[in-house]
């Protein structure tokens, strides 16, 4: 049985009160299940409900409906927080404390034993390349440096689950690269699962295994990234400019489109090894008259398509 690190069922948050009515719930019956050891990208335009979801999962705000489980425990379970690392969207820490002092407070809250605490703080500062600023007051830090300290406090306890809200915000290209390495390292070395929201789709595409797209509080789609981008399994497209090759391939194709005279586009299931072998054989025989082309869309175009479809559906 597959284990889920995060499960939500009909999760709803409505900020309306008797004083102030909002036009729609911030989060509308969100149901997602996130498998273990997965890097999960949580996408959506501004106001989609990403931060609301993350704050519910971290027990900071209460849902008005539905259920949420994190690491198999209810979202507001205090003890399970020891196994989670969290980075808020705009990290802010006590400005009068130094980086080391603030991380020491966090380490104490995470119940890291005294003898290990100092060593671990040095380690995480090294990971986020902030060792030389360890004694500096947090109030003097730039946005990028704060983000690095945020990442440091999030990985302090070698968490099983990292929940990160816009972690790439404020980081320069080097910082982004380093951050992606940290995330991948957490998954590789500590088998951590990562749940993060981001607007930088190229980075999401690069590191995520699974994604969800939200719009105006509603879930539009969720699943493995490759499956979603390949349109649910219509994996490989082959451009054919030979009638002989076409005759041999057409029987396996799920869909055949005539592009021009003597040129066809054949769409195949991705995971069929027999078809893959046949295609490779024909590529060898017919050279550039049989060309394999990935059918996968780029995440960016997929994202825009989904959002626009949803917005159009709401308009009609």
């Amino acid at each position: 049985m597959e284990e889920f690190i995060i499960q939500t069922e009909e999760l709803t948050k409505d900020y309306s009160s008797w004083l102030r009515k909002t036009p729609r719930p911030a989060l509308d019956r969100l149901t997602i299940s996130i498998p273990k050891n997965c890097i999960f990208g949580f996408l959506g335009p501004n106001g989609a409900g990403k931060t609301t979801t993350i704050k519910i999962l971290m027990g900071l705000i209460r849902p008005t409906g539905g259920k949420a489980m994190v690491l198999g425990k209810p979202y507001d379970d205090v003890e399970s927080k020891n196994r989670i690392g969290f980075l808020p969207d705009s990290p802010a820490f006590t400005p009068t404390l130094s980086a080391t002092e603030f991380l020491d407070v966090c380490a104490r809250l995470l119940k890291i034993p005294g003898e290990r605490r100092k060593k671990r703080i040095e380690e995480v500062l090294e990971i986020v390349r902030m060792t030389q600023h360890a004694k500096a007051k947090i109030g003097t830090f730039s946005r990028g440096m704060l983000q690095r300290i945020g990442i440091a406090q999030a990985i302090l306890n070698d968490p099983e689950l990292l929940i990160l809200d816009e972690p790439l915000l404020g980081l320069d290209p080097y910082g982004r690269q380093e951050f992606k390495e940290i995330i991948l390292g957490q998954k590789r070395d500590f088998h951590a699962s990562v749940f993060f929201s981001s607007h930088i789709l190229s980075d999401v595409e690069e590191i995520c295994d699974c994604i969800s797209i939200l719009n105006k509080g509603r879930l539009l789609c969720s699943g493995p990234l490759q499956t979603l981008l390949s349109g649910g399994g219509k994996g490989v497209t082959v451009d054919v400019r030979s009638e002989d090759a076409l005759r041999e391939l057409v029987v396996f194709a799920k869909q055949t489109n005539r592009i021009a005279d003597g040129e066809w586009e054949l769409l195949f299931e991705q995971k069929d090894p027999a078809v893959e072998a046949k295609i490779n054989e024909l590529v060898g025989r017919f050279g550039d008259r049989v060309q394999i082309r990935s059918a996968n869309e780029e995440l960016e175009s997929f994202f825009f398509k989904k959002i626009e479809q949803d917005n159009a559906a709401k308009m009609n």
């Binding site: 704050k55 971290m58 027990g59 900071l60 705000i61 209460r62 205090v78 003890e79 927080k81 020891n82 989670i84 969290f86 808020p88 705009s90 990290p91 802010a92 820490f93 006590t94 009068t96 404390l97 002092e101 603030f102 407070v105 966090c106 104490r108 809250l109 995470l110 119940k111 945020g150 406090q153």
Partner: protein, 243 residues
């Protein structure tokens, strides 16, 4: 308990690192010293005046120290510092308790420094030793920070940082006036703490003994009131969305 100490340590470090705190302490010492110059105006009562001034100014310093938490908690909630801390293994009640303990420790350090300085000035100016009653009066003033801290945490949690300090200072002022207010049940129905329990200015000035049993009872009352108020605050804070 470790979580409470962690939050408390962050709070007291934060306060005790403010330069304005030491400026305040030096100002109080100067004002206490100046009391010795009022010999003529007070017709020779400048000695008790100095002790009275030191206790009054120490009470004001305690109130101002406590007031700092009414800025700190709403700011931490607004800026997201509280959100970062509360996503660790920290209950909301523990966060509030940590803040209250932190402010108590910071207040105790500041008031102890003021009291110690005042005693040095008093004994050097008048070449006398410090009476036990004076020590006890200053000690009770320091203990009064416990219910004051709980009040500040209550207002800081419920109200925004523009309103919370004003309400806190009003509540402290009312709490020192409960002797008068008790005759007006509408204004004082036992909800406000009675900080008059900790006020031994007249005993210190006129060297009347302060019974140890009374001091213990007042301390226990202060702790019980603070615990009650923190639990009450926690009830609201647990239901609050932290954005």
């Amino acid at each position: 308990m470790g979580e409470i100490i962690a939050i408390a340590s962050g709070t007291w470090k934060n306060i005790l690192r403010m330069k304005v705190v030491y400026f305040l302490i030096v100002c109080v010492w100067i004002l206490v010293g100046i009391a010795s110059m009022y010999e003529i105006l007070t017709i020779g009562y400048h000695k008790p005046l100095m002790m009275d001034v030191s206790l009054v100014l120490n009470a004001i310093a305690a109130s101002l120290t406590v007031l700092s938490v009414t800025f700190e908690i709403p700011r931490e909630l607004r800026q997201g510092v509280a959100a970062t801390l509360l996503t660790k293994s920290l209950g909301r009640t523990q966060y509030l308790a940590g803040k209250a303990v932190g402010i108590c420790v910071a207040g105790a350090v500041i008031c102890t420094l003021i009291a110690a300085g005042s005693f040095v000035i008093y004994s050097q100016t008048f070449a006398v030793t410090i009476a036990g009653t004076m020590l006890k009066a200053q000690l009770m003033l320091i203990i009064s920070i416990i219910p004051m801290s709980a009040m500040a945490v209550f207002f800081a949690t419920i109200f925004p940082e523009v309103v919370a300090p004003v309400l806190t200072i009003l509540a402290i002022w009312f709490s020192y006036s409960t002797g008068i207010l008790s005759h007006i049940p509408v204004l004082y129905g036992g909800i406000l703490p009675n900080l008059d329990f900790f006020n031994f200015r007249s005993h210190a000035v006129y060297l009347h003994p302060i019974p140890g049993f009374y001091m213990i009872l007042a301390t226990l009352w202060g702790i019980a009131y603070a615990l009650f108020l923190l639990m009450f605050t926690s009830f609201f804070f647990k239901a609050k969305d932290i954005k």
